[in-house]
Subunit: 280 residues, 2 copies
């Protein structure tokens, strides 16, 4: 697969990579932008090469161009390049070595502290701040921004991977990047050039029949059969890519079966309270 | 501004539209993909024209190509085209008429019901399901997917707007689109061709100095001055676009000052509990 340039694939080829030859929907409208989106893969091995000047600012401009709830812009991003700080974050995130490898590590932050400062400076109270809704809006805002940054990075030949494990020890992460009350690191993101050792293949997803509903939710009649087919697809994908050849079903059970698999994220409500999110 | 095609703007012009001439960062790496991202604007007036065949499936393929936490894919999307159902959803979302106007209304769903069914069918318990972390993962997954769909739609000459007001009355929305326990409509999204009456101008954002931090969070020394400059920029934007010429500061206070402005979202925790998210 190494020689494939996924962003020049035809619609049919790109859809077959994403869903398997059997599960792909018919090809619809198509262009280079959509080809880029379909070619996404998360990369967990990076070359040390620095990014061209202005790359960070371009990614942030793309991120800020995403929609944001009521234009509140309740997010921030921290660009970490210091090796010691990346190493500290890697240790807090299950020792994921790519956090140290990548030249740029972005910490995406749900941020209502800016609103708190505004309220203090203006002498007003913002009654909405302590609510679950406000935390959710901030997390969504950060996520919309991050995904635009990902698309921009990939368009420049860079790769990324989201690091949810940054939520394993939120207060310790907050200390490493100097977070203030009213901020929470929703996830991290490695940015850099994929090393040749990086997984080269697009990961298949569940068939559209399972995820896409028409008019109302409706549990798909063939959901179990679709899952069985996807289990086969993911098993073969894992074998081809030198991973433990588990089915998707087995991976879901491993990841969600026992609280220990949350690696501390079962204590997130307490951590959020400590960081200034009341979640009322 | 109507004749501008923002996706062919130069970096400098696109950045000036997004940040104002004074606040724009120096132009960095640039290409058509990044130009497309920077040209985003939310559209709240649609022509009734139907979408080309296969458009929905293409948007969903783009959405499914976004990263998803541990490949769990804890989201679904409901494509609503029925006029009566769109009207019902519009009524539940502050009577936003564009929900009725747009040919396709997407309901983006945080979905752990699929995992629940898997657990039942496999005879296992998924201990992780009742946690806040799991709700957050599902909401993030849905948001990553939705943003890719937005980028794909805009690349096809379509417009979108996120509808957070779908969270005003979550249990009523759930009834309209037939949600099952373990699903929650995170937000809606109008998709269609912008009418000529739609706002044509890219909305400015806060300067990068306020949002982008280096190595650690650090409250920007000039944050208040940056906010004042942004207030001027947004005031002028509002005047040019026939909106009440409020500053950003005033809009934040209006939107976050009083609980009434949440339009019911202060009761979201109770709604999430009712819909099967324990948020432990």
């Amino acid at each position: 697969m190494d020689s494939v340039q996924p962003n020049i694939l035809s619609a049919a080829d790109a859809l077959a990579l994403r869903y398997g030859a059997e599960g792909a929907p018919p090809a619809g409208p198509w262009n280079d932008h959509i080809a880029l989106l379909l070619s996404h893969r998360s990369v967990r091995a990076y070359r040390p090469d620095a990014l061209p000047d202005g790359t960070l600012e371009t990614l942030v401009a793309a991120a800020q161009s995403a929609a944001t709830s009521s234009n509140l812009q309740t997010w921030s991003v921290i660009a970490v390049t210091d090796p010691d700080r990346k190493a500290a974050l890697a240790r807090l995130a299950n020792n994921q070595k790519h956090i140290e490898q990548c030249p740029l590590f972005l910490v995406w932050v749900a941020d209502i502290s800016r609103n708190r400062r505004l309220a203090e400076q203006e002498g007003v109270t913002l009654e909405v701040l302590p609510y679950q809704e406000t935390f959710l809006v901030a997390a969504i805002d950060a996520t919309l921004a991050a995904q635009n940054a990902t698309v921009a990075a990939e368009s420049l030949g860079l790769s990324t991977v989201y690091i949810g494990a940054l939520r394993n020890q939120p207060t310790e992460v907050a200390a490493v990047v100097g977070l203030v009350p009213g901020t929470f690191a929703v996830f991290g993101m490695c940015v850099g050039y994929a090393s040749s050792a990086a997984d080269a293949e697009v990961k298949p997803r569940l068939p559209q029949a399972v995820v896409l509903h028409r008019e109302t939710y409706g549990v798909p009649l063939q959901e179990q059969a679709h899952r069985a087919a996807y289990d086969s697809l993911m098993g073969a994908f894992s074998t081809r890519n030198g991973m433990a050849a588990d089915t998707w079903t087995r991976r879901v059970i491993n990841r969600m079966g026992r609280i220990a698999a949350l690696s501390g994220r079962d204590r997130m409500v307490a951590a959020l309270h400590a960081l200034g999110f009341e979640l009322k």
